[in-house]
Every structure is written in structure tokens, then in C-alpha cells.
């Protein structure tokens, strides 16, 4: 990698961090976890960019790494969601009428892949096809995850303003 490419990589890591953090926060619903996810993602991006020796599509690579790292982290054995295996976390439930809390609670109730689909489709503004490519799933699966995710959001909004 040339000195100019290294500088561009540094600039990407520095500049893209806030946007990645916001997506990570929507996925994790937790600030510390989101920060760790972004850090892990950026390390993987740097390793990948150096290994392949090219910088095209860094943006897409980072996005894909972020969501897939998030999903694989959720698969881990002891991190499967045990409702009472660990102390129940009420922070994810809405305690007042704040819309942000309500949306975060609705997202927390979704499966990781459904959450990832919503974030990619509506926050990162990707098409169904691009979302399917990032997540390695069929377009029909993306559509069904989207429908379920939107239904959950809709239900949460209805409850909030009922």
C-alpha cells in the first residue's frame, strides 16, 4: 500500500466513524456495545484493505462488515437471548413517551437480522437487492424481514400514541 493510500485509509477511519456509530447504535441499542462494534469493524476494514491492497468500495465493505459482525456476535452461544438467564434489562423498554426510546425498544424486540434489514433499508437507504447482497440472503427474505420490522415499529407507534 502506498503512502497516499495509507493516508486515505486513515482519513476514512477517522471520517466514517460517527456514521458507523449511529448505525451500530441502532443495531445494538447500547452505546458501549456500539462503540466496540465500530472499533472491531474498523480494525477489520483496515486489515481487509491492507490484505487486498486496494481501497475501492471501502464504504460498502465497512457497512457489510458492521452488520455481519453484529449478527455473528449475536449468534454466540452464551449470548443467545435468555429472557431470565441473565437479569432482565428494562432499559430497552419505553418508560416515557419519548419517541427515541420507543423506537429503540421496538428495535430491541426484533431478531438481529430483522434489525439489520431495517437499518440497511431505511437508515443506510439501501435497496432491497443491495440489502440482500450485504446480508447474503434472498430478496424475498429481506422483504419479509422488512415487513415484520415495520409491523413491530407500527405497533410500537400505535401503542405510544394510543
Amino acid at each position: 500500500m502506498t503512502r497516499g493510500e495509507e493516508a486515505a485509509l486513515h482519513a476514512f477511519v477517522e471520517g466514517r466513524r460517527p456514521a458507523l456509530f449511529r448505525s451500530a447504535y441502532l443495531l445494538c441499542g447500547n452505546r458501549d456495545e456500539a462503540e466496540d462494534l465500530v472499533q472491531t469493524t474498523l480494525v477489520k476494514v483496515v486489515l481487509g484493505a491492507r490484505r487486498h491492497g486496494r481501497l475501492e468500495s471501502l464504504e460498502a465493505y465497512a457497512r457489510k462488515t458492521l452488520v455481519n459482525t453484529f449478527i455473528s456476535g449475536r449468534r454466540r452461544f452464551w449470548r443467545r437471548e435468555h429472557a431470565y438467564g441473565e437479569v432482565p434489562d428494562v432499559a430497552g423498554r419505553p418508560v416515557d413517551s419519548d419517541t427515541g426510546l420507543m423506537v429503540r425498544a421496538a428495535l430491541a424486540g426484533l431478531a438481529p437480522k430483522q434489525r439489520a434489514v431495517l437499518v440497511l433499508r431505511y437508515w443506510e437507504d439501501l435497496s432491497v437487492a443491495a440489502t440482500a447482497q450485504v446480508l447474503g440472503m434472498r430478496e424475498s427474505t429481506v422483504k419479509s424481514h422488512t415487513a415484520r420490522g415495520l409491523a413491530a415499529l407500527r405497533a410500537a407507534v400505535r401503542e405510544e400514541y394510543a
Partner: protein, 258 residues
């Protein structure tokens, strides 16, 4: 609402969810590059260190644990307690014939990160234990949550009935029992994750017990047949290391708390 309006609306909702979140102070790109260099170095050295790691693991866990096809069987390996005194003391709380007990860290095994930080133990036996038997290796985990942490997580409301959401949440056979000292015991089974959704590492059968103590603390003990994937110490056990009844007896042992 047309598709465009839906997209706008959902985007606005998601925007509200991140609006009030304080951005972390940037650790700086240097930390990312430093970590990347360390990972790269570790990967290079790992390739040459596999043989040494196998020898080290055999020394720590005994020759029967690593499924190499050589060496002594688990049955003939030294008895519980030879490797750490904590594991030895814990083994004495278990029914005879449970298996060979070694203290391990599931986090480090599964993350393949030998230096990963460990949560600070609260109870005297808090931690993870491998249970080696001739047919494989299972695990027992013990964790005490202090009242302050329970209060923080439940907004001071304390824990509810542990079976309230079962079986809707996937747990099966959840039963509760009010004990004479006022604590509430819940025991349930967590079925293996759907391999289509959670392909790695694949977990086995698992019994869990949660004890809501009168003083507000919460004790959890998990027993599982093990997991398959990177870091596994052996094949899955045919049955969890303890039966539900044995697990219920173990979690009521006051030694786990003080």
C-alpha cells in the same frame, strides 16, 4: 402511505432513536491501526504456535480432554480439583460421578481470545467450569448478581417471576418454587439454537436455574452439554452434566453465595 412516505417516516423514526445518543469521544484512528497491527501479528504467530498451544492445553486440562485420539482417557485422568483449588472445591459441591471439573473461561474459549477480560466474580464460585466425561465435555456456569446490579437493571423494581414469559420466549418446562426462606427458584430448559439461525458455534442442550434471593441478589447456574465450533474442548455430552433435580439442589447450596 406510499412507499416513499413510508421510507421517509421510518428514517425519521430511526433518526429520533439516535438523536439523543452522545457520540463517544473518538479513540482516534491510531488505536484502530495499532489493533490491526496486533491482530496481524497474532495471526502470523498463530500459524506457528498451534502445536505449542495443543501441548499447553493438554497440560492444563489433562490428556483426555483434547480429542486427539491419543493419550489417556478422561476416565483415567486425575480427579477433580487437581488443577485449581477453586475447581476442586466446586467439584465437592457436585454429585459423585459428575465428571472431571476444570475451571475455564467460556468467553475466552469461544472468542479464541486467551487474554479477554473476565467479569469480576461476586460469589465464591462464580465462573465457568468444564465437565469432562468419557463421551465429551460439558459446562457449568455460576453467576451471582448483586442487589445493586439487579436494581440498576430493573429500575429498582426487582426481578419478576422467572417463568412469566416461558414458553413464548422459547424456554421449555419452566417451573417455579417458592422456598421456605422466601426466595424464588426457577428451573427451565433452553433448547439448542436453530442451526439455520445460529450456525456457529452450535450449542447443545442446556438446563438453567435462577434463584431470586430475598435480599435482592440473583444467582444463576447453567449446565450445558457443550458447544461445537472453534474453542470446543471436546464433543457434546449426551446429557447435561446435571439433571434438573441435581441442578435445583446445587443452586440451593448456600456455599455458592458466601
Amino acid at each position: 402511505m406510499n412507499q416513499e412516505a413510508v421510507t421517509e417516516y421510518v428514517r425519521e423514526l430511526l433518526g429520533r432513536a439516535v438523536d439523543d445518543v452522545r457520540m463517544p469521544e473518538s479513540r482516534g484512528s491510531e488505536t484502530v491501526f495499532a489493533k490491526a497491527s496486533r491482530v496481524r501479528w497474532r495471526r502470523r504467530t498463530a500459524a506457528t504456535g498451534v502445536a505449542a498451544a495443543a501441548v499447553a492445553a493438554a497440560l492444563v486440562f489433562g490428556p483426555g480432554v483434547l480429542d486427539t485420539g491419543h493419550g489417556a482417557s478422561v476416565a483415567s485422568a486425575p480427579t477433580a480439583g487437581e488443577y485449581t483449588t477453586k475447581a476442586g472445591r466446586f467439584a465437592k459441591l457436585l454429585p459423585a460421578g459428575t465428571g472431571k471439573i476444570s475451571e475455564i473461561s467460556l468467553l475466552r474459549l469461544m472468542k479464541q481470545a486467551p487474554k479477554a477480560g473476565q467479569p469480576k466474580p461476586v460469589g465464591p464460585y462464580d465462573g465457568d467450569y468444564a465437565v469432562a466425561r468419557p463421551d465429551g465435555v460439558g459446562y457449568i456456569s455460576v453467576n451471582v448478581t448483586p442487589r445493586s446490579a439487579v436494581d440498576a437493571k430493573t429500575d429498582g423494581a426487582g426481578l419478576r417471576n422467572p417463568c412469566r414469559d416461558a414458553p413464548r420466549d422459547g424456554r421449555v418446562g419452566c417451573t417455579t418454587q417458592k422456598l421456605s426462606d422466601g426466595s424464588l427458584l426457577g428451573v427451565w430448559e433452553t433448547p439448542p439454537a436453530d442451526p439455520a439461525l445460529h450456525p456457529v458455534p452450535a450449542g447443545g442442550r442446556e438446563f438453567d436455574a435462577g434463584l431470586r434471593l430475598k435480599d435482592g441478589r440473583y444467582l444463576v447456574v447453567r449446565v450445558s452439554t457443550g458447544f461445537q465450533g472453534k474453542g470446543q474442548l471436546g464433543p457434546l455430552l449426551k446429557t447435561p452434566p446435571l439433571t434438573r433435580a441435581q441442578l435445583a439442589r446445587l443452586i440451593q447450596n448456600p456455599a455458592l453465595l458466601d
